[in-house]
């Protein structure tokens, strides 16, 4: 192997993982999830309340002007490019020990991106180094004008997201710098080629990070007024239905939810013993983990697809559209589960990554005085606080998902079927949440 020390690390980052949440926490969380769900179905409002066209509270005009100013855009793009160059330097010339690349890749680009997109909006568009390269080199002039094929939808992004979680959870050695570098090279080549062939729409629909960022940003209180484009703060539930419905939307969300669940599952001794018994070599173990990952994602796709269609009183065409129409209600569930799962990673490994970034080559540099900083393991040192936060994230995401699904059902299901038509979806969501809590509790 090229990188000297190659270690099979959980998530490619090493270190310990979170303690399981106590049994009682899981039980209390499950009880609340169940109560809320049926409370919402039986007692809540009977007319749709959320509407993407409802205006929020507009922020002062200078905010929008500043955000949209070409100077701001160039500064952000340049910052993204500079950061990418800094990480690339570490990736190419740094040592395997204390290299910031795995942390940047698995923590900042995966979990950090979700947190920042949820807080302020689809940030990846503004900082994406590949977009910047495309603009700087004026690659748009190479286009032959065919445009982005509509039936492709979000499928390339779903595939890209799968490639990411595959590297993290199924590949033989997720922590190897060589593997991460290869992944990133393929990502850059595919994204640039796609954009040259299909135009810059490719970024919005096929770049896995941009699509992930857009997904997370749909539950953000920050949004643009649909008419004026002015930045405002509003009810996230009005923002949620603006998630574009394209081919592959449900699959994108299923990859995110299913892979996070598989991450918990694959740490369970039952699964590890099974993989050990069945496999002789690293290659077969990888194949088995790949199959496991695919099963989890497929289960989410199939259950959601069936549940969304399980209603009476609609014609064939409407029924076919229902999974896409309901898809946005999965977003809060995905977000809740991602934070429950990766919050300590974001906070603690995130600190370690920033410290490693201050000395990317292991030469003892001390950029911004961060090189000698110590990580504060604030969450790991307080396991009961962490467990409470996790349960709140899972149950909160579930409740938000149920509310969004209920409201959408009132809008799209015909009178007389609005209650019964929701039942399958509610049961499936309860199923996701119970599974999630069970996995966090460790079985």
């Amino acid at each position: 192997m090229t990188d000297g020390s190659v270690v099979v690390l959980a998530h490619g980052l090493g270190g310990s993982s979170d303690l399981p949440i106590p049994y009682t926490y899981a039980l209390i969380g499950a009880a609340w999830a169940l109560t809320f769900t049926f409370g919402v179905v039986a007692l809540a409002w009977r007319r749709p309340r959320f509407d993407p066209d409802k205006p929020g509270r507009a922020l002062p005009l200078w905010v929008t002007t500043a955000v949209d100013a070409p100077a701001t855009r160039w500064v952000l793009a340049a910052a993204g490019l500079l950061f990418a160059a800094w990480v690339a330097m570490a990736a190419m010339f740094g040592t395997a020990d204390g290299n910031p690349l795995p942390g940047v890749f698995y923590v900042l680009m995966w979990v950090g991106l979700v947190a920042s997109s949820l807080a302020i909006g689809p940030i990846w568009r503004a900082v994406s180094p590949v977009r910047t390269v495309y603009r700087l080199l004026r690659l748009a002039r190479l286009r032959d004008g065919r445009g982005y094929p509509r039936p492709l939808g979000y499928w390339p992004a779903a595939f890209g997201l799968f490639a990411f979680v595959w590297l993290e959870l199924a590949s033989p050695d997720p922590g190897s710098l060589g593997a991460i570098k290869l992944w990133l090279w393929v990502y850059i080549v595919v994204t640039l080629t796609g954009a040259i062939v299909c135009g810059d729409k490719w970024f919005g629909r096929a770049d896995p990070f941009e699509v992930y960022s857009v997904v997370a940003s749909r539950f953000s209180p920050m949004r643009r007024n649909p008419q004026s484009g002015r930045i405002e703060i509003g009810n996230p539930f009005n923002h949620l239905p603006t998630m574009p419905i394209r081919p592959g939307t449900v699959t994108v969300l299923a990859v995110l939810l299913g892979s996070t669940a598989f991450d918990s599952f694959s740490a369970m001794p039952v699964w590890r013993n099974f993989v050990d018994r069945q496999t002789e070599s690293a290659a077969t173990a990888t194949m088995l983990r790949t199959a496991g990952l695919l099963v989890f994602i497929t289960v989410v796709v199939v259950t959601f697809w069936l549940a969304a269609r399980a209603t009476g009183g609609v014609d064939k065409r409407t029924r076919r559209e229902l999974p896409g129409v309901m898809a946005h209600s999965l977003i809060p569930i995905v977000l809740g589960y991602v934070f429950a799962h990766y919050l300590s990673y974001l906070i603690e490994r995130g600190q370690q990554t920033v410290i490693d970034l201050a000395d990317p080559l292991g030469h003892g540099w001390n950029l911004l005085g961060l090189g000698n900083a110590e990580v504060n393991y604030v969450l790991s040192l307080h396991p009961s606080v962490l467990a409470t936060i996790k349960v709140c994230c899972v149950v909160g995401g579930h409740v938000a998902g149920v509310i969004a699904a209920h409201d959408r059902a009132l809008k799209v299901l015909p009178t007389g079927y609005q209650l019964t038509g929701q039942l399958a979806m509610m049961l499936v969501m309860v199923g996701y949440t119970f599974t999630g809590l069970y996995l966090l509790f460790g079985g």
Binding site: A10, S16, D18, D276, S380
Partner: protein
């Protein structure tokens, strides 16, 4: 007052590696933070013991009986103890505060 002389609690893990067979694998154990964890290894091959705590520890295993490695963990969490070349997890220790 008799307990004052008592030796501190510690976790002992007995590992045998013989002809490619490892015992135990995927064991579920518990420990406290700062409590000594001792891994005793009887092995017929050289390997590396990786302890995925925060921070990580690495120990060289030689092909001989009766090797002892000791460490303690001060950040609570689930700690995997793995054989690097054989690619097997010996045990997962839940380190509670």
């Amino acid at each position: 007052m008799q307990n004052e002389q008592k030796a501190p609690d510690r976790l002992l893990i007995d590992v045998t590696i013989k002809g490619g067979e490892i015992n135990p694998t995927n064991a579920q154990l518990e420990a406290k933070t700062n409590e000594p964890i001792v891994v005793k290894v009887d092995s017929d091959v050289a390997d590396e013991l990786h302890v995925h705590s925060t921070p990580d520890h690495t120990f060289k295993i030689e092909a001989k009986p009766g090797q002892q490695f000791q460490f303690s963990v001060d950040v609570p969490g689930k700690v995997d103890i793995e054989l690097h070349h054989l690619e097997k997890t010996i045990a997962t220790v839940q380190v509670q505060p």
